[in-house]
Amino acid sequence: METKNIIIVGVGGQGSLLASKILGDLLLREGYDVKVSEVHGMSQRGGSVITYVRFGDRVYSPVVDKGQADFIVSFELLETARHLPCLKEGGQIVTNTQQIDPMPVITGAAEYPEDLVEKIKAKGVKLDAMDCLSLAREAGSVKAVNIVLLGRLSHYFDIPEEKWQAVLTDNVPPKFLEINRKAFELGRNYQG
């Protein structure tokens, strides 16, 4: 199988590391060679962060380059727009519609672009946009945005739901399992 590429993008502190860990574990259990590349340190302080997940028969590079991502999973709309060049032709975006102002916007040095969802769609890109923050809140915690997104991503995979649930169970603390299960369901079964 040709190597498949996923990038997970967001703002430092949004919980993308757990999402990539669950995804990596699942794909390993499915028998793929897997590489996951993360960024630690200063950019985690509220900066733009990106995690790469690659799987296939044999994966070499740990990073995903321009025009190579089969999926972009995004925690924030501006980050979706920023990383759009990574998407492969025909690739799928799964994005949270939440908007978090970066410091240049907060200080008034720049403006947050308007109508990003429409503009991205106008490029002929397959975009699945949803308010994950509301869905996470409905599940019981605003911190479950990452699992809502993962649930939505699972909708595009040929892997049975119980296998996703099993990996979820092994990767989140038992006391948060119910919330995360619900968050996963809400994402997976979202009717846009």
Binding site: L28, M42, K66, M103, A110, P113
Partner: protein
Amino acid sequence: MKELMLGNKAIARGLYEAGVCFVSSYPGTPSTEITEEAVKYPEIYCEWAPNEKVAMESAFGASLAGRRSFCAQKHVGLNVAADPLFTMSYTGVNAGMVIVVADDAGMHSSQNEQDSRHYAIAAKVPMLEPSDSAEALVFTKLAYEISEQFDTPVLLKMCTRVAHSQSVVETGERTEHEKPYEKNIPKYVMMPGNAKKRHPLVEERTKKLQEYAETSPLNRVEMGGKALGIITASTSYQYVREVFGQEASVLKLGMTNPLPEKLIRDFAAQVERLVVVEELDPVIEQQVRAMGLEVSGRDMLPGIDEFSQNLIAKAFGKEVPAGAVLEDNIPPRPPVMCAGCPHRGLFYSLKKRGCTVLGDIGCYTLGAVQPLGAMEMTLCMGASISASHGFNKALGKEKAGKVVAVIGDSTFMHSGMTGLANVAYNQSPSTVIILDNSITGMTGHQQNPTTGLNIKGEPAGRIDLEALCRAMGFARVRVVDPYDLAACDKAIAEELAAEEASVIISRRPCALLKKVKHRPPLVVDKDKCIGCKSCMRVGCPALSMKEGKAAVDATLCVGCEVCSQLCPKKAFVSTGEKG
């Protein structure tokens, strides 16, 4: 068992399996997780040392005592520990000793992009470079065998993409390796008479290591198409294989010092065109050229930033996809001080006073970022204090009362104390501010000698910063709460006005620490807010302007109230009881 593992975690697993007993490190991205993972094995004693030099010397002591030992640091950390490294090359080891140096091409979290391979050549010690997690584990174990067989410390070089990528590893069992301590003055006391006898042994050892490199499984040839032959190592190997598959032949070097000259010559003879693909400096390329071989590399590939598959493909004239781009200008999202960061209030006060702030390495370096823009120099660990001393001496009274040094608690313990000793000894009227957030923040919350806890979070010795500064001879030592802007302003004004040197300790724990109880988030009373943007001057990510009025993001705000102290209309209101 097969497992998906971070490169750094795979090294920790390698330490466990190699029977390592002692680990001492100072945290630094991208090396920190090695020691954090190693401490999870009860068989390995682990500690955070005050700096990399102390860590390396401690690890040397453990090796001398007959136990396999280890220390890890980032590239710039090896600058600090270079002193013991160069002479340990002469003494050699008793039990095996391995040193990880983690480079940060691309500067994801560093102040420069230096190439650590120069250290292996300069110190005449072997260097291994894994290209994924599986190799990180295997090479770590092999490094101990090389260390003991050739009587040398071994450098294991990581880079961000190997350290912070997860890939599949196969784990094994631990085996113990203990040696007795034996007194050996000619080997371990490096005074001139003894060192002169050790140096020829170092040169001989390099020759033996060269022979070893010729046949070692660390270096391997993967023959493919013969029109192009690529010599590569580390993460560059992965990009090369991704781009070329079987199209090119590859000499993959796992040991990058010393180089296997015969193996390289044989490989060069089998291919039509020879190229070295290596990040940063042309270290391998220049040595290959010095062998008289025709080779290219740096003429095609950049010596700055990290590589990727597209970058290499393009350099070899292959087409790469461009990807879709929006017409809109996408504003950058630089890192910022967190909401509730205790450094914010202090930097605001320094900016208001028009101070020239000489800074240091840590989260607080973000004090240089707009809208605060309140830091004018950052060089290396500890330089804030020494440089402010020099600055004050050079300008005399001209700039007096305006210059301050700011340094974090962990950085102060790392190498700020010696600079402070210089201020005390050579008497400059310097004002030093220690930003004590009770943790090593930037690298992800490691304990340090001022926190009273060890790497496991258990009670440990605690150095009292106030007592330490007083013992050095500072009469003016005071503590302020950086959430209290009036108190910060008063302390800064008074200490800068004083003719003698002084230390201000700005003390409040990092807002991200689990033990820190946050106050309820604030809300803006829209009837009171006049939209003057006074609060926006502190650069808090929880604040924004919505329809001409200030707005608070309740998911980020921790109720520190630094913004509300700037509001002329008292428009910020707490949403609950104060904790």
